[in-house]
């Protein structure tokens, strides 16, 4: 289950319009053994980033053109859920609340201590990898679900509702024996050993019991 779907090294994008700050942050993160991409403007970042690349984003709030929050919104708009660690010169509360509400990992005030920053980055990376793992699992489940026949797909909600074959046959107006075969084919195709397991899987796929 914990097998990584994406085996790529996480990339930390750092975006700041101040070249000196950008350079020093890059240096710090590299010293911690991280893979860093520095961008001197939001536009530069948006042009260079790839949603498939694992990792996170260290984003300065105050920048000309697009500010940090606008970059966050732009990413959300294209469904990129890359975790963001915000850096700001002066942390004003409304901005930080807004950022956190929209899913920011952290909102740090400059000058930022290395420990704090690296911790935030690590949690962002973990969050990113968990998110990516979960997304990969659901993808797998969807593929399994796609192998079911329509009848099997019809039977599935009844199975996860905990009904007996007899009950299901009665409700669908068919023979108990037939239902028994369908149940076995569903269990086999969905690669589950027990009904409990199938219930958890169906839940991930958003299939509600009948």
């Amino acid at each position: 289950m914990n097998k990584p779907v994406n085996s790529g090294v996480p990339t930390i994008f750092v975006v700041d319009d101040d070249p000196a700050v950008l350079k020093s942050l890059g240096r710090l993160l590299r010293s911690a053994g991280l893979h860093v991409e520095t961008c001197n403007s939001p536009q530069d970042f948006l042009a260079r980033h790839n949603p498939a690349m694992p990792g996170c984003l260290v984003l300065d709030v105050a920048m000309p053109g697009l500010n940090g929050l606008e970059v966050q919104q732009a990413l959300a708009a294209i469904g990129d859920e890359r975790p963001i660690v915000f850096l700001t010169g002066h942390g004003d509360i409304p901005t930080s609340v807004e950022a956190m509400k929209r899913g920011a990992v952290d909102f740090l005030t400059k000058p930022v201590n290395a420990e704090v920053l690296l911790k935030a980055i690590h949690s962002a990376i973990v969050k990113d990898s968990v998110r990516r793992l979960e997304r990969d699992e659901v993808e797998e489940f969807k593929q399994r679900l796609a192998t079911l026949t329509p009848r099997e797909r019809e039977v599935l909600p009844y199975v996860i509702s905990g009904r007996l074959n007899k009950q299901i046959a009665g409700e669908l107006g068919t023979a108990e024996k037939t239902i028994k075969v369908h149940r076995a084919r569903v269990m086999e195709k969905m690669k589950v050993q027990s009904v409990a397991e199938l219930v958890r899987l169906a839940e991930r796929l958003g299939i509600r019991p009948a």
């Binding site: 700050v21 020093s24 240096r27 710090l28 105050a62 500010n67 002066h90 290395a114």
Partner: protein, 735 residues
């Protein structure tokens, strides 16, 4: 007829005519004795000519002797007349010599009549007949010479000596012609006569006596002189008549002038005390014109306060011969008091005793009253001078101080005596002296001048003063009058105002920086962030086994760089927060625009405002105070941001433009895209306490304007062609 007869009768008639003429003159002017003497002499020559002719025609020796004896009579008359004529006419010749000549001649005449036939011959034995020129035969005497005739020769000799002496003194006197004509001819012809006597009487030479020929020459010469003298006299008398008329005329003119000048003439006799006056003088004193006056009654009418003084002056006037002057008051019979001015001089008489004191007196009451009024005027101008709030002065074109007021003494510390000898160079030094001299020249040329210079007070203290000068002309000389104000207090007030203005500017600056504190903190955080991150990165690199020294060196260099950057920001902040920095330097407004934009960068980002610059390259420098001008620009930028707070986020832009459009000035303008300024408020916005913002103090633009004014520039506001406001300021380019 024989020529001798003709010549003799001509001599006689010429002499007779001359005699008659001068006798006639003498009859009219009896005191002209010289003319009578000349006339008698001429008659004598005429008679002598007749006797000599008779002698030349004599038939017998006895006849000749008698004629010669009578011939001595006209000779004697002639000699005596000529001697005294010379004495009287030439006013020369020693009198005693004249008497000797007269005496010897009289003796000769007496002896002549004592001897028979005469003094020349003891006896005329025979008559010789001599053949003369022109076939004439004349009688000449032959006989024994009378030794007494030596007396006659002596007589001639004394006449010659007398005449020589007279001629010399006339020559010396300068009347050379007269000396030659009268004295010279007398000497010459008497000498000829003497020679003739000697030759005939002593030498036995046979020639006739013809003295009359010689004497004719003398008479003609003297007659010429005498006649020219008569002519001269006539001319003189004509001239005299003319000058008498002129004198009368000028006397009349003088009297007229005196009348016109209200002058009265007078004379005082020191012995009798009587006063002679012109009618005008009596009229002046209030008496009837013809009444008589003496010194005592005159002095009694003089004002008691002036009486003794005047009496002394008059007494002094009697004694000395220099001009005496006096001014006195006299009480007229009407009781009126009048002022008189008199001047007089006493004339010495021939014997050296002082004569009368004569002079002229004029009524000067009007002048005296005017003078009194003038003194009143002077007192008034003095009071006006002293009441002036500064030092007043009146200078001559030579830079000498002519008049001043008390404040002049108080301010400069010099006494009136010292100021009376003060010149420009005593009150001004160096550059101030040059400034004042130049300004005064302009004032003399008719300009009104105002200058600010230091006046050097006594003891060397320098007083800043405002001086004015206006040229004026009196006594035909250019002068300058003006007033000087002590600017010490004004300068203090000015300094105080400047201090307050700086304080206000500082307050406004601090307020503004307070508003920007977040932005400034952010600006400061940037380098601090870089430093911290670099340092911590370095620590991590060091913890590794293989340390990359190059990387470390780069990190340290960056740390140093960022530290400097932070220092710069702090230094700028400290300057902005400093109270009174008045230092001025050459500034590039383009650099300043960048500095200010750095300061507000973060603020602009927060507000979503974009700054745009249109900076003219190679902008000429201006001279100013960096902090104060930054404050102005900062203020304009923040105002622009505020003006656009209601705009859509994408519509918040302002533009800073710099340019140098001729005229030796640099213009900087800040254009926003806000709502602009109501046109009736365009001036008002610069007034203190005028504000459109809720939290505004209303001092920002007022402070900005005072800063720009202090830099010799101008700050103004306008609305943009489409929208928004444009604030601009113009500063002079440094030369």
């Amino acid at each position: 007829m024989s020529w001798v007869t003709i010549a003799s009768s001509m001599i006689a008639s010429v002499c007779g005519t001359l005699a008659a003429m001068h006798l006639l003159v003498w009859f009219r002017q009896k005191d002209e004795w010289a003319k009578l003497l000349f006339a008698l002499g001429a008659v004598a020559v005429a008679v002598l000519a007749g006797i000599e002719l008779a002698m030349m025609r004599a038939e017998t020796a006895a006849q000749y002797g008698v004629l010669l004896r009578w011939g001595h009579l006209p000779s004697a008359v002639l000699v005596i007349c000529i001697v005294w004529f010379v004495r009287l006419f030439l006013q020369a010749g020693r009198t005693w010599l004249g008497w000797v000549a007269t005496g010897t001649r009289m003796l000769t005449l007496i002896l002549n009549f004592l001897f028979t036939p005469n003094i020349s011959f003891l006896e005329i034995t025979d008559l010789g007949h001599v053949h003369w020129w022109g076939g004439e035969t004349v009688s000449v005497p032959v006989g024994l010479t009378n030794p007494w005739s030596i007396i006659g020769l002596l007589s001639h000799l004394s006449v010659v000596i007398f005449c020589v002496d007279a001629a010399i003194s006339v020559w010396r006197r300068g009347d050379r012609r007269q000396s030659l004509m009268v004295g010279g001819s007398a000497v010459l012809f008497f000498s000829v006569a003497m020679l003739q006597t000697v030759l005939i009487v002593w030498g036995g030479i046979h020639i006739p006596f013809f003295f009359s020929f010689s004497f004719l020459g003398m008479i003609l010469a003297m007659g010429y002189e005498l006649t020219s003298d008569v002519v001269l006299t006539a001319q003189l008398s004509r001239r005299l008549k003319t000058s008498e008329a002129e004198l009368r005329e000028s006397e009349e003119r003088l009297l007229l002038a005196a009348e016109a000048a209200s002058a009265g003439f007078w004379g005082i006799d020191p012995k009798t005390g009587r006063i002679w006056t012109t009618p005008k003088f009596m009229e002046m004193l209030g008496y009837a014109p013809e009444s008589s006056l003496d010194l005592e009654s005159f002095l009694n009418a003089v004002h008691p306060e002036d009486r003794d003084r005047l009496r002394k002056t008059i007494e002094q006037g009697f004694r000395s011969q220099v001009e005496t002057r006096a001014e006195f008051r006299s009480v007229l019979p009407s009781g009126q008091i009048r002022w008189f001015s008199a001047r007089g001089r006493s004339r010495p008489t021939s014997n050296g005793v002082s004569g009368s004191l004569m002079g002229v007196t004029v009524d000067v009451t009007d002048r005296k009253l005017a003078e009194e009024a003038l003194w009143g005027e002077r007192a008034l101008t003095d009071a006006i001078f002293d009441s002036a709030p500064g030092m007043l002065y009146l200078y001559t074109a030579q830079g000498r101080l002519l008049r001043w007021n008390r404040q002049h003494e108080t301010m400069t510390g010099y006494s009136a005596e010292e100021l009376a000898h003060t010149e420009l160079k005593d009150l001004f030094e160096g550059e101030a002296l040059a400034t004042v001299t130049a300004a005064w020249q302009k004032a003399f040329a008719g300009q009104r001048v105002t200058i600010e210079v230091n006046v050097k007070a006594k003891g060397g203290a320098m007083i800043p003063c405002l001086l004015t000068g206006v040229g004026l002309e009196f006594d035909d000389e250019p002068h300058l009058v003006g007033i000087g104000f002590d600017l010490t207090e004004y300068r203090q007030t000015e300094r105080e105002v400047l201090r307050q203005r700086q304080e206000l500017a500082h307050l406004s600056r601090v307020t503004m920086l307070g508003e920007l504190s977040g932005s400034i903190a952010h600006e400061l955080n940037q380098p601090l962030t870089a430093i911290l991150s670099n340092a911590q990165a370095a620590q991590r690199f060091l913890a590794r086994d293989n340390v990359d020294l190059e990387e470390l060196a780069a990190i340290l260099a960056d740390i140093v760089e960022e530290d400097k950057r932070a220092g710069e920001i702090i230094r700028g902040l400290r300057q902005m927060l400093k109270k009174s920095d008045t230092q001025r330097q050459a500034l590039d407004l383009n650099d300043m625009v960048q500095e200010v934009l750095t300061l507000v960068r973060s603020d602009l980002l927060n507000q979503g405002v974009s700054a745009h610059t249109e900076l003219m390259p190679a902008l000429p420098a201006v001279r100013g105070n960096r902090v104060q001008l930054q404050q102005v620009l900062l203020n304009l930028v923040l105002n622009a941001c505020d003006a656009m707070s209601g705009n859509a986020a994408s519509d918040r832009h302002f533009f800073i433009q710099t340019e140098a459009k001729g005229g030796g000035a640099v213009t900087l303008s800040v254009r926003d895209r806000g709502e602009g300024i109501p046109s009736d408020k365009l001036e008002q916005i610069f007034e203190p306490f005028f504000t459109t913002k809720r939290e505004g103090l209303g001092m920002g633009l007022a402070v900005c304007q005072s800063i720009i004014s202090a830099h010799g520039g101008k700050l103004w506001a306008a609305n943009g062609p489409e929208r928004g406001a444009i604030f601009s300021f113009k500063l002079p380019i440094t030369s």
